[in-house]
């Protein structure tokens, strides 16, 4: 189910929050209603952690993560790093990396299996992404934009990309990522998808300016309508038992 909300009159929800299948990070300093909407939706399924990164509230754009790990930029303070290590589940590897392009949320787009990276990313960073996040990394552009993390939102079930992505690009990316992709907008025509929304396998949060059409596109491409957190867990359980046998 997709929810619409605002952070202090600002519809760029993906800037102030980061949602994955294992945890959710929320910026401090917003009104309690922002935080409580996340809490209500995510309840006891995953922890909702209030944090800042480098003293700023734009945490969604500064960090990149999935259920396996979380990558933080070099300007994250030690207290923030410690706080995150304490609050997140033990299965999540929290790592601070030295990378010139420090807005990791803008340069990396990832789900639990694949990641798209900025073309100028360091080789070391690429290896770290593959290690910490447990994904396969592809250097790509989206509609000619190198900030892949800004112009697409990915989950394990689908992805939403910049509206001006050509059909060939869509097909190519879809093959790489192995998920269905759709070119669309969020927040009433905004092309910066990842800034306007944040998504995981069973829920999404969009800015309150998002129109009903955009919302229905989001719900259909990310397959949110039937999704329940327990369904995901059950699926995982089935596959685990299979492989054990």
């Amino acid at each position: 189910m997709a929810t619409r909300l605002q952070f202090e009159n600002n519809c760029e929800v993906g800037v102030f929050s980061k949602l994955t299948n294992a945890y959710c990070l929320v910026a401090i300093g917003g009104s309690e209603s922002f935080y409580s909407i996340f809490e209500t939706e995510l309840a006891d399924v995953i922890p909702v952690v209030k944090t800042s990164i480098g003293g700023t509230r734009i945490i969604g754009r500064l960090c990149a993560g999935n259920k396996n790990g979380l990558l933080l930029p070099h300007n994250t303070t030690d207290q923030e790093l410690q706080h995150l290590r304490n609050s997140l589940p033990d299965s999540v590897v929290v790592q601070r990396i030295e990378e010139r392009l420090s807005a990791l949320g803008n340069v990396i787009a990832c789900n639990d299996h694949v990641a798209l990276a900025h073309t100028d990313l360091d080789r070391e960073t690429e290896e770290l992404i593959a290690d910490v996040l447990g994904v396969e990394v592809f250097r790509q552009t989206i509609a000619g934009n190198i900030l892949v993390g800004s112009y697409c939102a990915l989950s394990n079930r689908g992805g939403l990309v910049h509206p001006h992505t050509s059909i060939e690009d869509l097909d190519e990316l879809s093959t790489l990522l192995q998920i269905p992709l759709v070119a669309g907008t969020v927040n009433r025509g905004s092309e910066v998808i990842a800034a306007g929304m944040t998504v995981n396998d069973w829920t999404a949060f969009c800015g309150s300016d998002t129109t009903a059409t955009e919302l229905s596109v989001i719900e259909s491409v990310f397959k949110l309508r039937e999704a329940q957190p327990s369904a995901i867990v059950d699926e995982m359980r089935k596959s685990l038992i299979d492989s054990y046998v």
């Binding site: 202090e8 009159n9 009104s31 209603s33 001006h164 009433r188 025509g189 309150s208 300016d209």
Partner: protein, 308 residues
């Protein structure tokens, strides 16, 4: 009686390229860069002329004597031309207007999108100022007048009313304000005027002229009797920001210099509104009688023309 001057109409220039979504996006990026550059480079010495089809053309010429803020080291010989044009509000202007009105009610979380929608729907009264060429979507200023009675059922207007009444610290004035919002609402227009901070002041007289002319045209031209009456404003309500000296018990007092005047107006025209009697609060919310408007227009023109 049809007005002799045409109200500002959009120029219909055939530009097939800009109809493609790609071009719009490219233009958006280019315009953001261009606007930023012009914001940095615009120095205020210009003329304004009203062209025959009701648009205002302002020519920006850099004052060659001003060398103080040449921070990027460019020679001050360059002349920066900026032609501003006024348009009716369109649904596409949503993001621009919303950005300008972000701090309209300080930090309160309210239905700003709904409020912007109201402004954009009212195409007969209301003006946005953009750059001349169609490629730009950058909005520099918005002015409009919304009838309180006509829109009072909208959630955003209710939130606005609650907020304005709650921040008013003087109890006697609160009652007057409340009356304005309820009984007299049909005759009260909310004057919304926001612009980018360093917009050339020479644009102001034509901008306000455009607004008040549209109001008077609407009184004659609107299709239904009810709509016509909704523009017969007796009072304008203005919500704005000022800097009030700390010692004068101001809420927004920022400057502590004792040589400073007691009140500093962020927008120059607010000072004129303030003097024209009948204001209701500490300079944050003002109710101005509609018949004082012609005086305001004259004063504004002379204020801007006299400024160096």
């Amino acid at each position: 009686m049809a007005p002799t001057a045409k109200r500002p109409r959009r120029k219909l220039v055939a530009r097939p390229v800009t109809f493609s979504p790609f071009a719009r996006s490219a233009a958006h990026i280019a315009s953001a860069y261009m606007i930023k550059r012009q914001m940095i480079e615009n120095k205020l010495h210009e003329f304004c002329q009203l062209t025959p089809n009701g648009e205002c053309k302002c020519n920006d010429k850099r004052n060659i004597d001003e060398t103080e803020s040449d921070s990027d080291g460019e020679s001050s010989e360059g002349v920066v031309q900026a032609d501003f044009a006024f348009f009716d509000p369109k649904p596409d202007d949503f993001h621009g207007v919303k950005t300008l009105l972000q701090t309209f009610l300080d930090n309160k979380e309210w239905n700003l999108s709904g409020f912007v929608d109201l402004i954009l729907e009212q195409t007969t009264v209301g003006t946005v100022a953009k750059l001349e060429d169609d490629d730009d979507d950058g909005l520099f200023s918005v002015v409009t007048a919304l009838n309180l009675g006509r829109y009072k059922d909208h959630k955003c207007m209710k939130e606005l009313e609650d907020y304005v009444l709650s921040v008013c610290h003087e109890s006697n004035l609160v009652d007057q304000l409340r009356v304005l919002f309820s009984k007299k609402a049909r005759d009260v227009g909310l004057l919304v005027s926001q612009r980018v901070v360093n917009l050339p002041a020479q644009l102001l007289p034509p901008l306000y002229d455009a607004l008040f002319d549209e109001v008077s045209w609407a009184v004659e031209d609107e299709p239904t009797e009810q709509l016509r009456n909704s523009f017969r404003f007796k009072t304008y309500l203005i919500v704005t920001k000022i800097y009030m000296h700390k010692k004068a018990n101001g809420k927004l007092g920022e400057k502590a210099d004792s040589e400073e005047e007691p009140v500093i107006y962020v927008k120059a025209e607010d000072e004129l509104f303030h003097e024209l009697k009948n204001y209701v609060s500490m300079g944050l919310v003002m109710a101005v009688e509609a018949d004082k408007i012609p005086t305001f227009r004259k004063q504004l023109r002379s204020l801007i023309d006299d400024e160096p």
